[in-house]
């Protein structure tokens, strides 16, 4: 008659010699299970707090980006504080989205139907799927848009790169960039977080006269009005930033919206 009392079974397990194969496997399994439980609990319980931190940081970077654009603080002061308006736009139509507010955007993007799969030829930023709606920030002087801040995303060397692009009112010139999330190699690609490099984006032209996208992160020092300096030892990251910017100012990104702003429809 087998003894099925769990306590005596447990004691018998503990008394088994350590070099017993079954006990080795059992110990390995128990330790792994306990550790998995610990890690999962920590990750799941702490996720909301971490998400809050990230959101707060994003807000701080947005404010820093706006503050870094030359002459912007005067504009905000002139229009009396609440100058920055938040708009959810429909990327394909290039117009304000109907029925989706910043509060309901997250819920809308949780639905697969509100994403567009990109053909490999179009997908230069390497993101696979693109949301149909995006939350952008506009600064106006009078009726005209004087600055637009557009969230962008691309795939870097080690993972996603997220950034905010600031465009001047003519939608042809960059006013700044802020990298909000990246996982590039520390000391190499991660240098895209350095403020000095980000400042070099201000004033760069996106398009030439014919309308072709010319902006690029150069290999080595950037030349002319279209290029910013490349980061030594981080060619893949530099290319990723180039492709990210080119994708999002192109026809599958914010192109229709930028055209609408140029026509004065916003």
């Amino acid at each position: 008659m087998a003894d099925l009392n769990p306590f005596s079974l447990w004691r018998r397990f503990l008394n088994t010699p350590n070099d017993n194969r079954a006990k080795t496997l059992a110990v390995a399994f128990l330790v792994s299970a306990a550790c998995a439980l610990l890690v999962t609990a920590a990750t799941v319980l702490l996720r909301p707090i971490q998400a809050e931190n990230r959101a707060a940081e994003q807000q701080a970077r947005l404010e820093a980006l706006i503050a870094a654009v030359p002459g912007i603080s005067e504009l905000i002061a002139a229009s009396g504080g609440e100058a920055l308006s938040t708009v959810v736009v429909d990327l394909d139509r290039g117009a304000a989205a109907t029925g989706i507010t910043p509060e309901t955007l997250a819920a809308a993007l949780a639905e697969q139907g509100n994403w567009t799969a990109l053909a490999p030829a179009d997908d230069i930023a390497g993101i696979g799927n693109r949301p149909d709606y995006a939350q952008i920030y506009l600064l106006r002087s009078g009726e005209a848009v004087s600055l637009a801040i557009l969230p962008v995303v691309g795939s870097g060397y080690n993972g996603r790169i997220q950034a905010l692009l600031a465009l001047d009112g003519d939608m042809r010139r960059l006013a700044g960039i802020a990298i909000t999330e990246q996982m590039e190699t520390p000391g190499l690609g991660a240098r895209i977080e350095e403020p000095l490099w980000q400042q070099s984006f201000a004033g760069k032209q996106l398009f030439d006269e014919s309308g072709a996208t010319r902006f690029a992160v150069a290999r080595g020092p950037g030349r002319g009005e279209f290029e910013v300096d490349g980061i030594t030892g981080a060619t893949r990251t530099s290319n990723a930033v180039t492709n990210m910017v080119r994708f999002w100012v192109g026809p599958k990104g914010y192109g229709p919206l930028m055209a609408a702003i140029r026509r004065g429809e916003f």
Binding site: N20, K23, V31, C35, L38, L46, Q50, E57
Partner: protein, 221 residues
Amino acid sequence: MAAGASLWGTLTAPLIRQNPVTLQILGICSALAVTTSLDTALTMAISLTVVVVLAAGIVSLIRRHIPTSIRLIVQIIIIGSLVVVIDQCLKAWFFELSQRLSVFVSLIATNCIVLGRTESFARTNPPLPSMVDALGNGLGYGLVLVVIGACRELFGTGKLLGVQILPLAEQGGWFTPLSLMLLAPSAFFLLGALVWAMRSLWPEQADDPDFPPHETGEERP
């Protein structure tokens, strides 16, 4: 009495004389990387101490039931899980610091001090002495980090914990920051000087030379 005295000895020996960094030259990688300022050095020291104490306690609790053939894997799994938990806690409650420590918190898992203590001490001793020993080693590591971090921050920026101590020349004071102190080589110099000082104080700590110095210009038989 005797037990208390030996516990006290276990705790204090690794602080200075048996310091894991200066005597055994363990944990150098992170000691170089996170000491550009005092607050990152402190956070790293506290994180490592927490990990090594908890890991020593857990390993010591199950020490009679760890099969010898998989003991390193079991220890690494325990250490690795604790590091992930600490990393998550830092990201939740000390977000700015965790951004600056970046990859080095995760690298606690590969810090030789942690595995060294669980393997050489906790695996053969009861939980209390193991945790005390781990605490002593964590504090000894922290002490070196704090000394080097304080030197580098003070001479590199004239600040301590972000408070200006030495008036900067460009703001009308007399101190010109040594920017070398903010680069990795300065940590090598400081650590080398520290090890040299300690081995001059206690000559028995010095290693025997691996090879006799090569002599030149002398006649050989």
